[in-house]
């Protein structure tokens, strides 16, 4: 019955772990290997402890993603994400996720993303219950379940001690 979706499982490549001195090359390798979802983590040092990157990286990746008709997704781990939506979509993001924890007006923010013409997603931290999605689920294209605490060590931001 639900077997149909099994064939549609896809892998998204998160660039935070890439070598930034050859970002275009590494992203191209992932696209050539069939990846069609490039995942860009945006961190503000407030909602999450680390900083990552801004829309200039999205602008640089857009032409590369376009060559492969790939989704360029920004995961906004930032407070007040509504301040940045237009900038990220204008520079080339065609998919945007925001954290439910950062959006008191989640419905409105989701509608803004859609109005900008991008796919919309709601991200949930590990401790945030699914219940917060109940009234918004039919409005989103995807839910992003965080299976680690976002924006902390690892994930290529800081090297972890081995073991």
């Amino acid at each position: 019955m639900s077997r149909g979706r099994q064939g549609k499982i896809q892998i998204a490549a998160s660039i935070l772990s890439a070598d930034f001195s050859r970002l275009g090359e590494e992203v191209t390798q992932a696209l050539e290997a069939g990846v069609r979802w490039i995942h860009v983590d945006i961190m503000d040092g407030h909602f999450v402890p680390n900083l990552s990157m801004g829309s200039q990286v999205v602008r640089s990746l857009r032409p590369i993603a376009d060559k492969f008709d790939a989704l360029l997704h920004v995961h906004l781990m930032v407070e007040e994400p509504e301040r940045y939506l237009a900038d990220f979509v204008r520079t080339g993001a065609n998919s945007v996720s925001i954290h439910a924890e950062t959006c008191p007006h989640l419905h409105r923010t989701i509608q803004e993303i859609r109005a900008l013409g991008a796919r919309s997603g709601v991200a949930l931290n590990p401790a945030t219950p699914l219940l917060v999605l109940q009234e918004i689920l039919s409005e989103v294209d995807f839910v992003l379940i965080m299976s680690v605490e976002p924006g902390f060590g690892g994930a290529g931001v800081y090297p972890l001690e081995p073991g």
Binding site: I9, I11, A12, I15, L16, Q29, A33, P126, L144, I145
Partner: protein
């Protein structure tokens, strides 16, 4: 080099979300999962009902080429598909 450890209770959360989406007839809504995805966790995450697996250090690392790493992840998901049919 790798990221944080996958939080095991996430699997149950994915299963419950998949159930809600099915019950409400919202199967077009994708479930993406982000954090601690590698060849060992990708299978269970796919089996739980995720449709998008976000991987970072499992793709971009010093151990293998991007293509080889992706092949390994896809093999892990392929096994999950086989497992789910039993």
């Amino acid at each position: 080099m790798g990221g944080q450890e996958f939080i095991p209770s996430s699997l149950d959360k994915i299963v419950r979300l998949r159930r809600v989406l099915t019950e409400r007839g919202l199967e077009q809504v994708q479930i993406a999962v982000d954090g601690g995805i590698h060849a060992q966790t990708a299978g269970p995450v796919a089996r739980a009902g995720a449709t998008v697996l976000v991987a970072g250090s499992a793709i971009f690392n010093d151990h293998g080429s991007v293509a080889d790493n992706l092949r390994e992840l896809r093999a892990a998901i392929g096994e999950a598909k086989t497992g789910s049919r039993r």
